[in-house]
């Protein structure tokens, strides 16, 4: 049976039921419920001692870089207070401001533990003057700290940089700042010789990019700054190919060295700017006759002996050749 048929079936019954519903009585009932709630609220607001518990977030500011806290710092204070019902009602709807704790100024005043009247005073700044502070937790905040040693470390990239098809990383990745300061115990600092970034993967980079990277955290070591800018130079590259001869040097005058194949294919990537300047003559595969003469095999591995420094991804094919000595 479909929905429409069901509705059609039940519609007359529903209509008959609601036409006989005692709407008037219902409205009177609702009116008195609302009235009772209003009276309850008035009584609540006039009550002198209503208790409520709340939390106040803490924020620590001006923390010197070369210190480490001996105890973990709490991130909130839980308070129990009493006040008039109306005030407590307001607390429930009030946005709670954080308490900023200025570590530097407390250290200047030689304060190690925030407690007693200073602590209460601090809490009081965030509650109404009429409120009675009954309890708070933690009862004290220890800001006791130890002095750390420091060491400047070079930032080293850890991760992957993947460029778009026509682009390549043109140079080494540099950082801003290039060094960060590591704070920690002398012993621990001795084991560090660089600040390594968190493993980061940058995909499909098409142009030179400046990206945020975090320094990989190490327990007991604080890095300042903990984040650096990575500058990744990207250039547009294009593939180029040449066929170059396999040559031999130091061969005696009466010997001709023949290679099979006699030519190799060189493929490489160059920036668009360099593309036109690079010529086949810039690449050489030269083998030494003395080396060929020494080997027992008739095959020798090939590698480029000369190539321009500004090209990337150089490949030669084939990577080996056979050779014969021919008497002239």
């Amino acid at each position: 049976m479909n929905l429409r048929a069901t509705l059609n079936k039940w519609q007359p019954k529903l209509r008959a039921y609601f036409s006989t519903f005692p709407w008037k009585n219902m409205l009177i009932f609702v009116f008195f419920v609302v009235l009772a709630f209003i009276f309850w609220l008035m009584l609540f607001f006039q009550q002198e001692k209503v208790e409520g518990s709340y939390t106040i977030p803490l924020k620590y500011v001006n923390i010197p870089n070369d210190i480490v806290f001996n105890n973990p710092l709490p991130d909130k204070i839980e308070i129990l207070l009493s006040d008039k019902g109306s005030e407590i009602f307001k607390y429930d709807f009030r946005k709670r401001d954080t308490i900023d704790i200025d570590i530097m100024s407390l250290m200047e005043d030689n304060v190690d533990i925030i407690q007693g009247s200073t602590y209460i005073q601090m809490i009081r700044t965030r509650i109404s003057t009429t409120s009675n502070l009954i309890q708070y937790y933690p009862p004290t905040i220890s800001i006791e700290s130890s002095k750390l040693e420091s060491k400047e470390l070079l930032v080293v990239f850890d991760g992957e940089v993947n460029t778009s098809n026509s682009s390549l990383v043109a140079d080494t990745i540099t950082f801003l700042p290039e060094k960060v300061t590591a704070y920690g115990s002398g012993e621990k600092l001795k084991t560090l010789d660089s600040a390594i970034t968190e493993y980061s993967v940058f995909e499909n980079l098409k142009a030179t990019s400046q990206l945020h990277v975090k320094i990989k955290p190490i327990e007991g070591i604080k890095f300042v700054p903990s984040e650096v800018e990575a500058f990744i130079p990207i250039d547009e590259y294009t593939e180029k190919y040449f066929e170059i001869p396999v040559e031999c040097k130091n061969a005696p005058k009466n010997i001709n060295v023949k290679f099979f194949p006699s030519k190799v294919n060189v493929s490489f990537a160059a920036t668009l700017e360099e593309y036109k300047k690079i010529e086949a003559d810039d690449f050489k595969v030269i083998l030494d006759y003395n080396q060929l003469n020494k080997t027992d095999s008739s095959s020798i591995a090939l590698e480029l002996t000369t190539y321009p420094s500004n090209v990337r991804n150089i490949r030669i094919s084939p990577t080996s050749a056979e050779f014969l000595f021919e008497k002239k």
């Binding site: 190919y241 099979f260 493929s267 095999s297 008739s298 095959s299 094919s317 056979e322 014969l324």
Partner: protein, 194 residues
């Protein structure tokens, strides 16, 4: 005189083997190069191609290769016709070529389509240069600076390696595991002793 054909699939390394044979002092007839030459110079080829595919094929008395490629690679029947015109002329040219080299005990013919063109009928022995399919594709793609897919497409039109080997007297394995020089030297020794 022993007439030996060298054949092999695309990227198999026929030309390296032929290079080696030339170093050993044997004459090698390059059928592909000669066919290109004959397409322009042979009046028989020219007249027959024109009668089948039209006068436009030879503007300024020179074969328009692009046009011919378009005609034969888009229609297999046209390819058969063109081959039936060109291959017999290449065979005749080879016979003429060997007559000028009578002093040699062995002569070679390098042709990619040696078996497909039926050149084996005028040869005494056939050598196939073999390399695994993927290696051939890679070599040819690097040599011709083209996509492996294009090479694979071209390889499709060639005889399979199995068929080629079946129709050959010798096989040279150019798969970077065996020395080409040694294999060629062995075959030459065998041919000289025949």
């Amino acid at each position: 005189m022993i007439k030996v054909g060298i054949t092999g699939g695309i990227g198999s390394g026929k030309s390296v083997v032929c290079e080696l044979l030339r170093v050993y002092g044997y004459p090698v007839y390059d059928a592909d190069d000669r066919a290109k030459e004959l397409n322009n110079t042979s009046p028989i080829i020219r007249d027959k191609l024109i009668s089948h595919f039209g006068k436009d094929l030879y503007p300024d008395n020179k074969l328009n290769k692009k046009k011919l490629a378009n005609i034969i690679f888009t229609n297999p029947d046209n390819l058969k016709i063109a081959n039936s015109i060109i291959h017999p002329e290449v065979a005749k040219d080879f016979i003429k070529w060997i007559l000028e080299r009578e002093k040699y005990a062995i002569v070679f013919m390098d042709a990619a389509v040696l078996l497909e063109a039926g050149f084996n009928k005028i040869l005494d022995k056939v050598i196939t240069v073999y390399a695994p399919y993927t290696l051939r594709l890679q070599r040819a793609s690097e040599r011709d600076k083209t996509d492996i897919k294009n090479i694979a497409e071209r390889a499709k039109n060639q005889l399979s390696e199995e068929e080629r080997i079946k129709l050959s007297d010798y096989v040279i394995y150019n798969d970077d595991t065996q020395s080409l020089i040694e294999q060629v030297a062995t075959i030459l020794r065998t041919l000289c002793n025949e």
